[in-house]
């Protein structure tokens, strides 16, 4: 039964209340973002102007202030580290998850749990070991260093999510492919992967979001060269004062690509979220 079917049982009054509740919830959730975006277009002296600050002439001066070599480099670092770590996590993790799902290993659940264990501890537990090892290996303040960290955490997420998806996928199609002479790898690439696109996209999106929004590891393991955008935005919190306009503009710019991508992919995301929810 779909959501639309469910609403048939609601009275007109109940439907209005339900819709109002949804709108209220959406406003409550989105208001901070809206406030943040509006702030990014306000002149500096209007940002904390109270009620009188509700009416202002929009300006791009906060965005113009971001156009410098350092901020652009931080955005580039974010793009590279997030994209590469997500791509690698999917390339390594999806076949791994498939193998775990289909190989019928003893204690395979325990293995999956062990893989997920890296995401159970708080990041701070890993920060100092990573910092010390990276310092010795010369990986501090490098894109490669961040990619390795993100890959470590994303891989666990990919394996865990995709394994559950594969577990819920019927094997008959794969068996048919084998009967037709397809190899295991050929079956995976030609049959399984195309069926898994929504789940792969959703998982990739979650991995990308984790890497893109990471603050802690980027703060700890970088300095200036490999600094990512979320840390660079904090650099507008200076000793002499916080540059609220630039913080808001930078934050909006960081949010924008993720938001746009999510909207473009929302059909797949919804499909991916619910994939495997009902077995068979």
């Amino acid at each position: 039964m779909t959501m639309a079917d469910t609403t048939q049982f609601l009275s007109r009054r109940e439907k209005i209340i339900a819709n109002l509740a949804v709108i209220l919830l959406a406003v409550m959730t989105l208001l901070p973002f809206l406030w943040f975006v509006i702030m990014s277009f306000k002149p500096v002296d209007q940002i904390f102007a109270g009620v009188s600050g509700l009416f202002f002439t929009p300006t791009l001066e906060n965005y113009a202030g971001l156009v410098n070599e350092r901020f652009v480099r931080s955005i580039w670092n974010s793009i590279v580290t997030s994209t590469v770590s997500t791509g690698l996590a999917l390339v390594i993790g999806v076949p791994g998850a498939y193998a775990l799902s289909r190989a019928g290993l003893k204690r395979d659940r325990t293995m999956s749990l062990l893989i997920l264990a890296s995401r159970m501890a708080p990041p701070v537990a890993f920060a100092i070991p990573y910092f010390l090892v990276y310092r010795t290996l010369g990986l501090l303040d490098t894109q490669l260093g961040l990619i390795i960290v993100y890959l470590t955490f994303n891989l666990a997420l990919v394996v865990w999510l995709m394994r559950n998806f594969f577990d819920a996928t019927p094997r008959e199609l794969e068996e048919a492919a084998w009967i037709d002479g397809a190899s295991l790898w050929g079956t995976f690439v030609r049959i399984v992967l195309p069926m898994s696109i929504p789940a792969v996209l959703t998982t990739g999106m979650l991995c990308f979001l984790y890497s893109w929004n990471d603050f802690f590891f980027a703060l700890t393991l970088t300095r200036n060269s490999a600094m990512t955008a979320p840390v660079e935005v904090v650099n507008f919190m200076n000793y002499e004062g916080w540059e609220w306009g630039k913080i808001a503009a930078g934050g909006t710019l960081i949010m924008a690509p993720v938001l746009v991508f999510s909207l473009l992919m929302r059909k797949y995301l919804v499909a991916g979220m619910t994939a495997g929810a009902v077995k068979g």
Partner: protein
């Protein structure tokens, strides 16, 4: 004396190309001395003793370092070294540097010693003592004069053995800034000298058209102690030796009640969550009158191009209480990490950046007025720069720095465990000002929580 050699100069020495004594003489009397503004023998004037050295430093972003950057080419030309500085935001820098120092890192040759962390970084032995360098006439220029720093500004950089682990580049002296002295005068008030007068003035001015008589940021661990001491209270029983907190005394409760009332009864709306910047902006826009904070935070009232209160601002000492006057002072400085590999080159940079000549140029040519050197503060030109709206602000500044140095009452800030206790002060003031607890109960809770934290940190009480 312990000697540390630069990687590059060591190589040259090993090959017999450069004699060590020549390098040191060159540093002491040559090109660097020239840029320090000291007299140097002409024969050494063009010496570049650190040719080929690249010095790596780290500092939090601050306008002072922008001034340093502006003059850096002169130093690089004279010394021969290249200076690279990683600039990071205040919170980012402190987080990263704490990790770097605590893991005995050697990535940086010199660093910025952040005042709130000075006790921790100096106390833990993470910074190299500089006394041997200062005493060595071969590597410290004769007229550099460590004693010229106002005593209070050096206090955060002494370790328990009395060794110097850094030199200040900025001094903060707490004073009162009144953005709307016009309203004060109209209400019949001058600059308040006592806390009673201060409260009476706040009561008279507060609340008209949303106007706030008082404003401050949420860093109560910095803002509140002067009031605490003015009432006769204190943070520790006898810092740095005796670290038993004394937050549950009658004087402490009375002071906390007074200060919290300033915030809740006369403060701007939302003041309990204000950052430095928000508090400053309220004053710059003329929406709030009084604030007690470091000179760097009240001077923009008359210096900032955004200020709408340039003409109506006046300054004063923090009003005294029944126990006297204890305005806070602080200092951020330069230091050399214990594991740094190029200590002598780092010392050459620190000497230059904190020299009389550099400070003088920064103060008079670029407006960096929060200088820690007495000779600059006494300079007639500097005095003239701080003659604001008919007030001699330089005198207030110097008085605070001297009082803090002579009185030794700022020692509480230099102990490594102050951040834990300061956090309890923040919480206590919030509890009182928000009406959750009485002053006596909140301060008793702060005392108990502080003792727990200090014991966890291994402090014997």
């Amino acid at each position: 004396m312990t000697r540390f050699q630069d990687r590059t100069t060591a190589g040259a020495l090993a090959q017999g190309k450069v004699k060590r004594r020549t390098i040191l003489r060159g540093l002491a009397g040559g090109g660097i001395a020239t840029v320090l503004g000291l007299k140097a023998p002409a024969v050494l004037a063009n010496s570049r003793p650190f040719e080929g050295v690249t010095l790596q430093g780290a500092c939090f972003q601050h306008v002072f370092h922008e001034h340093v950057k502006a003059y850096l080419p002169e130093f690089e030309e004279a010394s021969g070294m290249k200076v690279q500085i990683d600039f990071q935001a205040f919170p980012v820098y402190n987080q990263r540097m704490d990790l770097e120092l605590s893991t005995r890192g050697s990535s940086y040759d010199f660093i910025n010693i952040t005042f709130p962390y000075s006790g921790r970084w100096v106390g833990a032995g993470w910074l190299h003592p500089l006394d041997d360098f200062i005493a060595d006439a071969n590597i410290t220029a004769e007229g550099w004069d460590a004693d010229d720093f106002v005593s209070g500004t050096r206090a955060p950089f002494f370790n328990a053995e009395g060794q110097t682990c850094g030199f200040p580049w900025e001094a903060g002296a707490m004073m009162a800034g009144y953005a709307r002295f016009d309203l004060m005068e109209a209400a019949g008030f001058g600059i308040p000298e006592t806390l009673e007068e201060f409260e009476a003035m706040n009561r008279a001015l507060h609340g008209k058209d949303g106007f706030a008589a008082y404003v401050n940021d949420k860093l109560h661990h910095w803002n509140f102690p002067p009031y605490l001491m003015n009432f006769g209270g204190g943070v520790f029983r006898g810092a740095p030796e005796d670290l038993m907190p004394i937050l549950d005394t009658a004087e402490a409760a009375e002071a906390a009640h007074y200060y919290a009332a300033l915030l809740s009864d006369y403060g701007a709306r939302g003041v309990l969550s204000f950052t430095d910047d928000q508090a400053l902006r309220m004053q710059l826009n003329g929406q709030a009158n009084a604030r007690t904070n470091a000179m760097a935070w009240v001077l923009p009232l008359t210096q900032s191009p955004d200020s709408k209160v340039r003409e109506t601002t006046r300054y004063g000492m923090i009003p005294r209480g029944k126990a006297g006057s204890f305005p806070g002072s602080n200092a951020n400085g330069y230091g050399i990490p214990a594991e740094a590999r190029q200590k002598e080159a780092a010392w050459a940079f620190i000497q230059w950046a904190t020299s009389k000549e550099t400070f003088r140029k920064i103060a008079l040519e670029r407006g960096g007025l929060a200088t820690p050197r007495r000779s600059i503060i006494d300079d007639p030109e500097y005095r003239q720069r701080l003659m604001i709206n008919g007030q001699d602000v330089a005198s207030i500044y110097l008085k605070v720095l001297e009082e803090a140095g002579e009185g030794g009452y700022m020692k509480y800030r230099t102990v490594p465990v102050f951040p834990q206790v300061g956090d309890k002060l923040n919480k206590a003031i919030e509890r009182i000002a928000s009406g959750q607890m009485s002053a006596a109960d909140a301060m008793k809770a702060a005392q108990s929580e502080a003792i727990d934290d200090l014991r966890k940190a291994g402090i014997a009480l």
